[in-house]
């Protein structure tokens, strides 16, 4: 029997404040992963400044491309395709990865694949273990809070979405009130584990008959509570504040996601995105799913694969490669790219 040829993809990711390259074999085996983070730079400004991000991306792009090949011990001739995130994200930042990938494709003759960043996050799961379809994913990050149905490896549909702030955005905003440096998620998560849910913040939309989220009301309630205490000269316990905020976020995310799991009966459940690194959320989801009668296989990618990285883009690109979906040299950035909504999306 003839052995199936390995497919090796080099991917670029530069949609926000991480510049990353990776070589992944057969959509599942990471041979190299290089991530250059700009967190130190944007911490000066309390958030990502797009022009600064773009400037940092171009500083490192050739170097990290070479490093990805060296670390994987491959040369250009060993690759089968080049992939890149083309949206959603910051347009100027996306353009560095896109132009680098297109130039690499031209210089080497390798085919080019454009990847949706959110599909990338979710596809990080296949770097951990095989995904069985249909699958359902909870994608939570600084820019996105979505429940996504994976019909097959290349058809992903949104069944639930945030109506206002993303969950990660809410963490950063209340972090500012608590004097926590950007990005605030990790610290708030740690504090939450040392406090109790004593404030009873609102759980918006938790009882509504859809899978959508809203976090702006929670954010306002949090800020009002802090301001009110300030005016009275009261000092509130920061651990309890963090615990109360996190409990409200996790409650809504878990409740809605569990309901979606019951409806769609996925074979695999995936949690992706930066907020998927949140321990409170991980613990809660694990517990609820374990209690199900017919539990799906759960894939929680390790922390390193939850943040923005090129390995997840290469994984998603492998599925597109098998489906024959290639891009040409006119591939452009699409900063507000969106996955399609499911037909029964309410």
């Amino acid at each position: 029997m003839k052995e199936k040829k390995d497919i090796r993809i080099l991917a670029f990711e530069s949609s926000c404040d991480e510049t990353s390259t990776a070589v992944v074999k057969n959509g599942s085996e990471i041979e190299s992963l290089v991530v250059a983070t700009q967190i130190k730079s944007h911490a000066r400004f309390g958030g990502v400044v797009p022009e600064v991000a773009s400037r940092h991306h171009i500083e490192v792009i050739t170097q990290i491309t070479r490093e990805a090949l060296e670390e994987a011990k491959v040369s250009w001739e060993d690759l089968d395709a080049i992939a890149v995130t083309h949206g959603p994200g910051l347009v100027g930042a996306l353009l560095i990865g896109i132009n680098a990938a297109k130039a690499a494709s031209m210089a080497t003759g390798l085919p080019l694949i454009g990847v949706d960043h959110i599909m990338g996050h979710i596809s990080a799961a296949q770097l951990v273990e095989p995904v069985e379809y249909p699958a359902l994913a909870l994608q939570v990050s600084g820019g996105h809070t979505e429940i996504v149905l994976l019909k097959d490896p290349t058809h992903f549909e949104i069944v639930g979405d945030t109506r206002d702030d993303a969950a990660g955005e809410a963490y950063d905003k209340i972090g500012r009130v608590l004097g926590v440096n950007y990005p605030a998620g990790k610290t708030i998560d740690q504090w939450a584990h040392q406090g109790k849910d004593t404030f009873g913040f609102p759980r918006a939309m938790i009882d509504e008959d859809n899978y959508d989220f809203s976090f702006s009301g929670l954010k306002s309630a949090f800020i009002n509570t802090c301001h009110h205490a300030d005016q009275l000269g009261q000092e509130l316990d920061k651990y309890d504040l963090a615990a109360s905020f996190q409990a409200a976020v996790v409650d809504v995310l878990a409740e809605k996601t569990m309901r979606a799991i019951r409806q769609y009966q996925p074979k695999t459940f995936i949690m992706g995105g930066g907020v998927a690194a949140n321990l409170g959320l991980r613990e809660r989801m694990n517990k609820e799913i374990a209690a199900l009668e017919k539990a799906p296989k759960v894939i929680l990618p390790p922390l390193k694969l939850c943040g923005d990285n090129a390995a997840m883009i290469a994984a998603a690109a492998y599925n597109q490669y098998l489906a024959g979906n290639f891009a040409d040299l006119t591939l452009d950035a699409d900063p507000s790219m969106e996955l399609p909504y499911a037909e029964d999306y309410k």
């Binding site: 400037r55 070479r66 690499a104």
Partner: protein, 240 residues
């Protein structure tokens, strides 16, 4: 030596092929909106029309700044990647020096400038290839003062649309023989970049960044607020 040159620094998109300092072929599209979409296809067709492939190019030249920040990065990212992957030379040429070459035959001081809003310009002044006023970010009044102090009699303003400042320029440089470039005289030609690239220093693709001539507003605001100095760019990015 075959040189492929690229300019995406202004609204004009231009690519050219030079054999040493002789222009072989050039494409130029005026007021192009999306350089990122058209640059690679333009390069591909320029090469195909001349029976060449990227591997045949010895040196990649690019307008390295000043100019549109996003535009500069589109061109330089592409040129850097070509040079790095194919192990060929990379050179960066001043956008303003290239613009000044539109008047290469004239015995005049060429003030090349790009609009940077609020009467500010990214500008430099050239006698032939020689920079007389260094590329920088100048307010119009500052620029006129520096040009006025030079002995050159004949002065040509090129690159940006100066017509709305015609009176102010005339008043500021009353004793000079002035001309404002018009129409195609303001186009940025990749062929000019290719000619200048013959004698330009070779850059390390890993180190090459656009010559923006300005930091971002966020950085200036941060420095003012905190009183801190800027660290080297590399201090802010770390591999994890």
């Amino acid at each position: 030596m075959k040189i492929l040159s690229i300019s995406t620094a202004t609204s004009d998109l231009s690519v050219a092929l030079n054999e040493a300092d002789h222009l072989v072929s050039e494409k130029i599209e005026e007021n192009q909106r999306n350089h990122s979409v058209d640059l690679d296809p333009d390069i591909a067709s320029l090469l195909a029309e001349n029976g060449l492939s990227l591997k045949d190019i010895d040196r990649f030249a690019v307008a390295i700044g000043p100019g549109s920040y996003t535009g500069l990065r589109v061109g330089l990212t592409t040129a850097k990647m070509f040079a790095s992957i194919l192990n060929k030379e990379l050179v960066g040429v001043s956008t303003l020096q290239a613009l000044a070459q539109n008047f290469a035959g004239e015995d005049a001081l060429i003030v090349a400038a790009l609009d940077a809003r609020n009467k500010n310009f990214f500008a430099g002044a050239y006698r032939g290839k020689e920079a007389v006023i260094a590329d920088g970010h100048y307010h119009l009044s500052e620029l006129l003062e520096q040009v006025g102090a030079l002995p050159d009699q004949k002065v040509i303003f090129a690159g940006s649309d100066f017509s709305k400042y015609q009176e102010e320029i005339a008043a500021g440089l009353a004793d000079k023989d002035l001309r404002l470039a018009e129409g195609e005289e303001n186009l940025l030609h990749a062929g000019a970049i290719g000619r200048l690239a013959v004698s330009a220093p070779v850059l390390d693709p890993d180190q090459a960044v656009p010559n923006y001539l300005r930091r971002t507003q966020a950085e200036y605001d941060w420095a003012k607020k905190t009183g801190q100095e800027f660290a080297a760019d590399s201090a802010y990015v770390e591999e994890v």
